[in-house]
Symmetry: C2
Subunit: 283 residues, 2 copies
């Protein structure tokens, strides 16, 4: 019988358990969490079979999912080679700052332990086992970054076959480039936009609370947790700086067109953006 | 009996009729529209009392709502002083490029005709009388820009009392500053972001179709009609250019902080943006 151990039974970890159980109820699932309530909820809901210690869970497992905060994941990666793991065990995680984790995971490669960095692009502001959902990963991109050829990749996909994730096996460089462009840069831009508009309206009669849906959409992500985003900026510094420059080039182009009152050029710029943006929604 | 004439029975004009009727069914509402289907729908639904010509409608009305496209509004503003209007008539409109309309409306001031520029921050991609809604303006900011003290303002608010709009009586300068910051600048930024991220990912394995909800929210408005947005850029050029500079200053600050790896400064920047953005949703 295949055995899976999930360390961290919060929203992501508990959703993985739900998906694995739905896909094959013969898989044995054990779990651990510093918060007893999460483990108890999972047992009572029949979503895991046993609450175990990290050491016990890791040593019994064929596949280990590390689903805690990034610093906990890194500590656990360091601990794994000291344990008596099953031969052929596959270790994966769900941390979003992947560069740091992949660097830490070199210790696993050194011990011939297969590690597949994982990054499901799903989540919400909710936390805890109760807020997990079977369909949390549905249609979401789920990055896999293997350290050992394709070892472990099919096993993870098979366990999560009912998740309907969009699997993307990528290099760490391409992962960082992608999250830089699609997530980190937009956060920098939305945060800058909020401050610029707030300054612009400081001395007028109307404040940003009058803004319509378009502004709210464009700046929504600026309300996210500053702790998390500060850590992300420092983890992907170079890529983000390059992309800020790429953005500034585009902004300089449209600024020049507006300055020149060049109707055709402005129209071309907006048409190009419209086309790209519409393709994304069809993608 | 108070008489209202609505020129243009599309989504906005027909929604105004719905709201006026709901507020006071004794008000006589006449309407005109180049598309006969809109007029017929409004009559059959009991939302207006009579389909009339522009001239006839304008001459019988106590309050005139101009709800056509901006160029039609401007032509109609020029025509109004040549008609035999009721003394004390109040003229208002719903065009979004207000500077052009307020400039055109000087001809009304010259003829002692009260004009209150109007800009309800509501709408959607839908068109036509059938797509109008009684609650279209609910909780939306509705700008009023009077040319003659407060004349006409209370009359418009009273007619639309059930709309639950958030009325803001402002100067044209403040209006342009506000829409520049809350609508025009975000459009420039979202369009630039789409192009920058697209360039950044051109040579990687993963395209923007893998982007998650945050990116989609931040760039949603970039999919809007380039014709309309080109016209808007040219109508509010100076304000937009100033605000691009304001934005670039904010971006330069966070770029420098990331470059320096200054954790405290990055955190302060994101915390400030978070605070402002959260206040908007509470406003």
């Amino acid at each position: 019988m295949e055995s899976v151990f999930i360390s961290g039974l919060g929203m992501i970890g508990s959703s993985l358990a739900r998906s694995i159980r739905q896909g094959d109820d013969e898989v044995k699932i054990t779990g651990s969490d510093p918060d007893d309530a999460n483990g108890q909820f999972m047992i009572q809901s029949g979503l895991i079979d046993q609450v175990v210690s990290f050491e016990q869970g890791a040593q019994q497992a064929d596949v280990i999912f590390l689903c805690g905060p990034v610093d906990v994941i890194i500590d656990q990666i360091k601990e794994l080679p000291t344990l008596n793991l099953k031969p052929g065990v596959v270790v994966t995680d769900v941390g979003s700052t992947k560069a740091k984790i992949m660097t830490a995971a070199k210790v696993l490669s050194d011990h011939n332990i297969t590690f597949v960095g994982g990054h499901p692009m799903a989540g919400s502001h909710l936390t805890g086992a109760k807020s997990g959902r079977t369909d949390l990963f549905s249609q979401a991109t789920y990055f896999l970054i293997p350290n050992n050829g394709m070892a472990g990749v099919e096993q993870i996909k098979r366990l999560l076959k009912t998740s309907t994730s969009k699997w993307r096996v990528v290099s760490i460089e391409n992962h960082e480039q992608f999250v830089g462009a699609a997530s980190h840069l937009p956060h920098v831009i939305a945060s800058s936009l909020v401050q610029a508009t707030n300054s612009s309206l400081k001395n007028t009669e109307v404040g940003l609370e009058s803004a319509a849906g378009g502004f709210r959409d464009t700046t929504r992500i600026a309300a996210a947790d500053p702790d998390m985003w500060t850590a992300i900026m420092l983890s992907n510094q170079e890529v983000i700086l390059d992309q800020i420059d790429e953005f500034s080039k585009a902004l300089a182009t449209i600024k020049q067109d507006i300055q020149a009152g060049n109707q055709t050029a402005i129209h071309n710029f907006f048409s190009k953006s419209q086309e790209i943006r519409q393709l994304i929604d069809q993608g």
